[in-house]
Amino acid sequence: MDIKPILAALRHHKGGTALIALQIALTLAIVCNALFIIQQRLDRVGRPSGVQESDLFVIQNDWAQKLAPAEADARMRADLQTLRQLGSVQDASASNSFPLHGAGWDNFVRMSPDQVKMTTDSAIFFADEHTLATLGTRLAAGRNFRADEIGSQTGNDPLHARQVIISDGLARTLFPHGSALGKTIYTSNDQSPSTVIGITGTLQSHLTELWAQPYAYNAVLVPARLTGDSTFYLVRARPGQLVDAMRQAQDALYAQSRMRIIPADGGVMTFAQARQRAYDADYGMAILMGIISAVLLVITAAGIVGLTSFWVGQRRKQIGVRRALGARQRDILGYFLTENLLITLGGLLLGVVLAVALNLWLVIRLGSQPMSPLYLAGGVLLLLLLGQGAVLAPALKASRVPPVEATRSV
């Protein structure tokens, strides 16, 4: 098809053409970036925690009075004993935090005592010989803690674990070549080394913020109970008995002692709820971006339909003349499809520039990642199809204008 007459005709509709091209350009820029953001968020939400999440729940236990460290430790041991004896409970363990919790304890990990800058950052999880079984996290190498290795400390005591189990993410960061097993690392400010006795499979840390992305799979399990004003009990229910176990566990703890506070809101929480809480903002963002993209595409399509319908209505007489001079229906159809293709291509050209600029702004201002060109290609294709799809109905209508229209006035 000869595009010269089309361009000549478009010159008569400069305003409308420019506006629809601009709209397509802006839509492309926003939709590409929105889809990219959705994909990034879904990637984050979909990463494995390394925990067998079904049948696992968490109890937040605050002591209602000040307890001496030894007293708090004795009560924690008694509580764990009680929990493990429940019929619906498979295993239980105490910790200061847990994967995806958001809040917790993270320390800089170093390879030598005189190192000033950290090698990496890692979550510190206080653990005992039941922790891995409770989380359902597998031990990839080495051995688990033994019961006689589990100590107790307050948050104010310096952290010095002679033996630690580390996550495989941390192991690979610290020892990219060769096994971490049996090596020593420094997990706190003091100068005493910790020997790695075990390496878990995938295990996520409590850190979920974007800045912590590089450290998301770093965790050090320390063989101790952390005594303080509050602790978490991680409890694994027997398969299918989660609801029973959650109720029984809380009742059993209160039966053991009333001098505790299990917050009414979120004090007993399934791991699924903890996950939901951790990623709530990401789900929200992905949904919002999805809605914005969908609505934008609909509005742009509707705009194309509306504008082309006008042009068709305006040019009925000219179309009639062309038909009378021998143009076939498909020539008219082709004319409008090509016209739309030209406008869309013009808009997309500008749109690609805008999309890259917007992404650049996001990278600079908000520390986002650079967008893969695939999203641009996908967005361009999507809008080309959208444009052609939207113009189809008015173009078909135009092609059905009878040649006799040429003879009618107004």
Binding site: D229, I299, F310
Partner: protein, 435 residues
């Protein structure tokens, strides 16, 4: 004439209902989305203490050792206990308060209420007058009470409602963490947003419900929450003891009534740092900052990036919706070139035609604006259902209501300008002839 043009506009809009609906819907969606995000952004980036914030400053000194020293780097965002006490007792500012956060178990006398934890703020006497904290009953404590480690407490009105049914509880005793405190004041509704005085506790958390003298809390070894940053062999953590003096974990705020005293205070901080260095405590050359409240919020990027992103994209969305409406209106007006040509030929001035068309676009703006406002209310309701700590703050105030409305009308009028102007450029003779 206005009512006549309005009738013409309504008739013209009614002639093509689908198109009118599309234009109105596009405007409404654009306004709704951009206003929802803008209101959230406005609330989150607002001034927590309008009228007072300009006099409030957040002094920073650098007590760290030379390990990891990087020239030009900002000092820590909090102070050590020893520096906090020194600066507090120096009384170089018009008002000053040293503080940290914590949580304490409340043990009510009535058996009907189980003990529960509430967030607490351990601070010094100037906290209340300096931040203009409103009292419903009673008042704060005095500097003398700070020194005497008095067992006095100020409680929030939510806690007062829960424990005392909202009655004046001043003078009553309250058991906190096993110690009896005398209530000296009950606060009125107070929720500065952001929670500026301690951003570590969640930048948009509500204010604490229990306020205790800092020295009392330290003497009783109540535990503290928030950020503790240590260097060297300092140790902090979450236990019952105090973090050591190589940890920063307290916030220190001052009120300086004019810029002269602000620059004098900056000099004082530098002198203090130099003096501490002479004494051997500080190792680094004096490295002090004195940001004002709003500068401090800005420095800490309190507004979440997600909110910035959403606001930016929502305005992009509004732009597309408006471009869409401009395009459609242009096409619509141009199609009526014949009709407009007849009007012009019959003596209507360009101005009259322009007015007529502008009223038509104004109607779309008005209806779209009302729709957008309703959508913004719906959007804010959705935001409030979310789990984010700022969710509860997403409320529409009269100021933003007016802004929404002006934005809607203004945006569509601007959008109507180009099509109306183009249409009234039509040469009447040409139009009449061609038909």
């Amino acid at each position: 004439m206005f009512t006549y043009y309005l009738q013409l506009a309504l008739r013209s809009l009614g002639r093509n209902k689908a198109l009118t609906a599309l234009m109105v819907l596009a405007v409404a969606l654009g306004i709704g989305a951009s206003m929802t995000t803008l209101i959230v952004f406005h609330v989150l980036s607002g001034d927590p203490l309008p009228g007072r914030s300009a006099q409030l400053y957040y002094p920073q000194v650098d007590p760290r050792d030379n390990g990891g020293l990087m020239p030009g780097k900002d000092p820590p965002g909090q102070v050590t206990l020893i520096d906090g006490r020194n600066l507090l007792h120096a009384r170089h500012a018009d008002r000053q308060a040293l503080m940290t956060g914590g949580s304490v178990p409340v043990q009510p006398d009535m058996a009907a209420i189980d003990p529960f934890y509430v967030d607490a703020r351990y601070t010094s006497a100037d906290f209340f007058p300096m931040f203009a904290v409103p009292f419903r009953y009673g008042h704060g404590w005095t500097a003398a009470d700070d020194g005497a480690k008095a067992r006095q407490v100020v409680i929030g009105h939510e806690l007062n409602n829960r424990l005392f049914g909202g009655r004046d509880s001043v003078g009553r005793q309250l058991r906190l963490a096993g110690t009896s405190f005398r209530i000296v004041g009950v606060l009125d509704d107070w929720r500065p947003a952001p929670h500026f005085y301690d951003l570590n506790m969640g930048a948009y958390d509500s204010a604490e419900q229990v306020f205790l003298p800092l020295e009392t809390a330290l003497a009783l070894r109540l535990d503290h929450d928030g950020s503790t940053d240590c260097w060297g062999n300092g140790s902090g953590g979450v236990g019952t003891g105090l973090p050591s003096n190589s940890c920063v974990w307290l916030q220190f705020w001052v009120q300086l009534n004019d810029s002269a005293s602000a620059s004098a205070y900056r000099d004082f901080l530098a002198r203090y740092s130099q003096q501490q260095r002479t004494l051997g405590r500080f190792q680094r050359a004096p490295n002090v900052r004195l940001p004002s409240l709003m500068q401090w919020l800005d420095y800490n990027h309190v507004v979440p990036d997600d909110v910035r992103l959403q606001t930016g994209l929502a305005f992009g969305f509004l732009l597309v919706c408006l471009v869409n409406t401009v395009g459609l209106m242009l096409a619509k007006f141009m199609r009526r070139a014949g009709e407009l040509g007849v009007r012009r030929a019959l003596g209507a001035s360009r101005r009259a035609v322009f007015e007529q068309l502008l009223i038509e676009s104004g109607v779309i703006g008005l209806v779209g604006g009302i729709g957008g406002l309703l959508l913004a209310l719906l959007g804010l309701w959705i935001v409030r259902q979310r789990a984010a700590s700022y969710a509860g703050l997403a409320q529409l105030d009269p100021q933003m209501l007016l802004a929404t409305f002006l934005l809607a009308i203004g945006a569509t009028l601007v959008a109507g300008l180009l099509p109306a102007w183009r249409a009234c450029q039509v040469t009447p003779a040409l139009q009449l002839k061609s038909n």
